[in-house]
């Protein structure tokens, strides 16, 4: 499969589009112009990209829950509940996992069962099965913008339907989908699917409809942030090449104030740097933060503290949008009530902190993290670009194959999985094993020293056992 980071020709896109729209009958009803016209009929306040840019201009942080139910009725009610009781600023529409895996037939059966039973059966909203008209009923019912949500190796038809139905953005991306949602799919294939999605977003942009694309890169599990930032920047560059103009940078917080804030800053700075380097001068970048992906505590008192803690980091880091897990995260798929409780907590914390304009712009611990993180990102990115002869897509594919881009605990058997993180004595994530990552000696010794400090306190060498305890620390009640 030959693949590069070039903008698709109209011809290629048209040809692929025919195939995509033929994947399921509802594809027939998709009309790009009509989709754009629908967006133009919606008020500006229901466009996610516009709303986020406004927040950026005003220095405000918006709250955005993750939501999804199956029937139009269920999904509408869930969204309305979060709009009213949950004080959400932006809504989302989780794609159910059958649809994510293009099992439209099974999703359609699930939907029918849900409609018959009168209670949710699928774990998200099956856009493809519903089709454009039905999916628009959701947008007509609410007053806020909504985003498509959820990584998947093939989100093409979902985007065709979802965007035409007024969803004004998406959270996910090729690399996150590759690392965490595939077993044997080649990265080229996932990237190509996303080039399609990005090109489609580009078409909407060309018709005057801003679409917010929230790249997701890679999920952390005690991961130094460069492990997330680099895949995320790659996703941005892939998107920009296809004409995406509004990018949101997903910061996967892990709970360490200095490191997480450095992550938010370095990610933004380096994204803007590489966008500029490739001449993508008109791409707007905004920032988003979300709670960690590790195991959550069962005890709700503790989860409330975590929701507040991660809201604190988001606000102090100055992100435009703050997501959050919910008090029932460890137990089961969040109920509407659980989500509302959680976001009321987040909103209160935000409302206490944000008006204070507490300034962390020059803070030495954050600066230390920024410096090392930027060095790591440059090292990895420049290597990827070199491997691709300047082409980020070509470089990425090679780098993954050689473990020069790597992730711990990937679901993919094509990933080396040598790299591993461990916490230092303050709870920041450090490289325990750098695998094949092409880091300089300076970077190497920085991490060694930090780990040595932890070992001094522990009184023993850190080991895989330490890593396991780090991965379950938060769910057991503490960062360390």
């Amino acid at each position: 499969m030959e693949i590069s980071n070039k903008k698709w020709s109209d011809d290629l896109f048209r040809k692929e589009r025919e195939k995509v729209l033929a994947m399921w009958p509802t594809g027939e009803d998709v009309d790009l112009e009509d989709g754009a016209a629908y967006h133009h009929r919606l008020p500006d306040s229901q466009n996610a990209a516009r709303k986020v840019l406004k927040a950026r201009a005003e220095g405000k942080t918006l709250l955005c829950p993750s939501l999804g139910s199956d029937t139009v009725e269920n999904h509408k009610n869930l969204l309305l509940h979060m709009q009213k009781e949950g004080q959400a600023d932006i809504l989302t529409s989780y794609i159910d996992s059958l649809t994510r895996n293009c099992r439209f037939e099974m999703a359609s059966q699930g939907l029918m069962r849900a409609e018959a039973a009168g209670r949710p059966v699928l774990n998200g909203f099956p856009f493809v099965v519903h089709g454009v008209e039905k999916a628009r009923e959701v947008m007509d019912a609410v007053d806020l913008p909504s985003l498509l949500f959820g990584p998947t190796p093939d989100a093409r038809l979902t985007h065709e339907i979802g965007l035409a139905a007024g969803q004004s953005g998406y959270s996910g991306g090729p690399l996150i989908s590759f690392w965490n949602y595939t077993k044997n799919v080649r990265p080229e294939e996932v990237i190509q699917n996303f080039q399609y999605v990005n090109r489609l977003m580009g078409c909407y942009e060309e018709m005057g409809v801003p679409i917010l694309y929230c790249v997701s890169g890679a999920m952390p599990s005690v991961s130094p942030p460069s492990l997330m930032i680099v895949p995320e920047i790659i996703e941005v560059l892939i998107a920009a090449a296809q004409g995406v103009k509004h990018v949101q940078l997903n910061n996967w917080l892990q709970g360490h104030l200095a490191q997480d804030i450095a992550y938010i800053r370095v990610f933004k700075k380096m994204t803007d740097h590489y966008l500029k380097e490739f001449g993508f001068d008109d791409v707007e970048t905004t920032t988003y933060s979300v709670s960690p992906t590790g195991r959550f505590p069962v005890d709700e008192d503790r989860v409330y503290a975590l929701i507040s803690h991660f809201t604190m980091i988001g606000v102090m880091g100055g992100v435009q949008v703050c997501g959050s897990r919910t008090i029932d995260e460890a137990k089961h798929i969040p109920t509407p009530e659980g989500s509302a409780h959680s976001f009321r907590n987040a909103k209160m914390f935000l409302n206490m902190l944000q008006p204070q304009k507490f300034d962390l712009s020059s803070h030495s611990q954050i600066a230390v993290e920024e410096e090392i993180m930027e060095a790591e990102v440059r090292c990895l990115m420049d290597n990827v670009l070199k491997m691709g002869g300047g082409d980020v897509v070509k470089g990425t594919v090679k780098a993954i194959d050689e473990g020069v881009l790597d992730q711990p605990y990937s679901t993919s058997q094509l990933v080396k999985g040598k790299v591993l993180g461990v916490k230092d004595s303050t709870g920041a994530a450090r490289y325990f094993d750098m695998g094949n990552l092409p880091f300089t000696d300076d970077i190497l010794s920085f991490h060694r020293e930090k780990i040595a400090e932890r070992e001094k306190i522990l009184g023993e060498k850190v080991s895989y056992e330490t890593i396991i305890s780090d991965m379950t620390a938060i769910s057991s009640g503490s960062i360390l």
Binding site: K331, H332, T411, Q413, I468, M471
Partner: protein, 143 residues
């Protein structure tokens, strides 16, 4: 010589792999022989692998809440395939909504599993159980 041979993996569309990866490591460092299947496995995938490596046990992980649906008739298929004495373990987050743990356990025992791990089980206790189940039995056999 390894203590015992174990096939591990995640069933169905489920992508939650971290928990079982941690267990695999714990088992390996404790002397078990681990054949890891990763995510996206069917009942047949587990059976084929277990036959191939003459496994003493199969450990299935599931967090997405679909385990029960996906594992109907698994014990019977194992029996038919000649895996009559194989120990079947399951763990993760087995149900979609909150229910008393005893009820979950009962249903999976009925499905033919020998052991159903409580949610949020830590590697230490899983290891202890595996050792007492598989290794003391072997010790007796070899004695």
């Amino acid at each position: 010589m390894s203590k015992a041979t174990v096939v591990t993996g995640v069933i169905g569309e489920d992508v939650h792999v971290t928990g079982i990866r941690i267990l695999e490591h714990a088992l390996r460092s404790d002397g078990f022989d681990v054949h890891s299947l990763g995510i996206h496995n069917s009942q047949e995938d587990f059976i084929t692998a277990a036959l191939e490596c003459e496994a003493d046990a199969i450990m299935i992980s599931s967090l997405a809440g679909h385990a029960e649906m996906l594992l109907q008739g698994f014990r019977e298929k194992c029996d038919k395939a000649g895996l009559k004495d194989i120990r079947l373990y399951i763990g993760g987050q087995l149900v979609i909504h909150s229910e008393p743990w005893e009820e979950t356990e009962k249903r999976f025992l009925k499905l033919g599993f020998d052991s159903v791990a409580v949610p949020f089980n830590l590697p230490k206790s899983v290891l202890a159980e595996m050792n007492s189940d598989l290794c003391s039995a072997q010790d007796k056999t070899s004695a």
